[in-house]
Symmetry: C2
Subunit: 158 residues, 2 copies
C-alpha cells in the first residue's frame, strides 16, 4: 500500500542499508564531482588533514539517498520529493571499504493550506559506518500527498 | 598563491561554471543514487508532479561542488573541507540539457580557538540555470587553514 501523509506519524523510524562504499565508485564520484586530491587517491589522502583517502561528503549524502529509496519509505505515493535540508553535518570521514546504514526518523509534519492535497513531513536522517559511528546527519523536509481530509487529532496545518 | 583564512574576507564573491547537465549523466546518477521514476526517464517524469524528467537534487548539489572545485576557491590551502550545510533549498527542478552556473559568497568567518591553525569560513552558495533562475541555494561552513596570527581588525574567534 502506498504511504501518504497520514501514515507518516512522528516517531516512526525507517531503516536503510547496508550499502558498501566501493573504492572504484569513490574514485569515479570524486573525479566527476569533487576532484580534490584527498578524495581521488590513497597517497594524497594519507598526506591530507584526513590521513587517508575519504569519500566526498556529497557521495555520502547520495549513498544515503539510495538507502532511503531502497527503504520502505520508497512507498510514498508521490515519490520522495525533498524541499529543504538543514543541519547537514559530516561527523566523521567515510572511507573506501566502509559499509553504511541509515535511520530515517519522522520528527514532524504539517498539512499545506496553500496546496490542500499535500503536506510537509520532516525527517531526521542519520548515517552510520560499520563500527556504529555516526558519519552524517541531516534534517529534511519532504512534500507528501495526503490521503484524505485532516483528522481531529492531527497537528495544525501551515 | 594558496588561499588562507585571512584571504576569505566577508563580501568576497567567487564564480563557478558553467557546467552542462548531461542527459546520460542524469540517468546514471539517478540509477545509482536516486532511482525514482521522475529522475530515471522522460515518460515517467512527464507523468510526475514535475511534469518532466528532472535531475536528483543531490546531483545538482554534486554538480555545484564541481563548480566550486573548478573556481578560484580551489586554491584554499588545505582543500575544500565542508563541516556543515544549512538551508539547502531546491528552488526549481533541474532538467537534462540545462546549463548551470554558481556564485559562492563569503558571508562570515571565525578563527578556531580549539584548533589554532584553522578557522571556520561561512559561504552562501547559489546555483542558477541558463535562464538566470535560482535552482538551489545553501549555506556552508568550511574548515580553512590560517596563514598567521589574528589581526587587530579581524572578527572575534570562537
Amino acid at each position: 500500500m502506498k504511504l501518504h501523509f497520514e501514515d507518516l506519524t512522528p516517531g516512526r523510524v525507517f531503516l536503510g542499508g547496508p550499502i558498501d562504499v566501493d573504492s572504484g565508485e569513490v574514485n569515479a564520484f570524486a573525479a566527476r564531482y569533487d576532484p580534490q586530491p584527498f578524495h581521488l587517491d590513497a597517497t594524497a589522502g594519507a598526506q591530507s588533514v584526513f590521513g587517508a583517502q575519504v569519500a566526498s561528503g556529497w557521495q555520502t549524502a547520495a549513498l544515503t539517498m539510495r538507502m532511503l529509496t531502497d527503504s520502505p519509505l520508497n512507498q510514498i505515493a508521490n515519490g520522495l520529493v525533498g524541499l529543504q535540508v538543514d543541519k547537514l553535518v559530516w561527523h566523521r570521514p567515510v572511507k573506501p571499504g566502509d559499509s553504511l546504514r541509515a535511520e530515517f526518523d519522522i520528527v514532524g509534519r504539517k498539512r499545506s493550506q496553500s496546496r490542500p492535497g499535500f503536506g510537509v513531513v520532516n525527517a531526521a536522517w542519520r548515517t552510520y559506518n560499520q563500527h556504529g559511528e555516526l558519519v552524517m546527519s541531516l534534517e529534511n523536509a519532504m512534500w507528501v500527498a495526503v490521503r484524505g481530509p485532516a483528522q481531529p487529532d492531527e497537528e495544525p496545518s501551515i
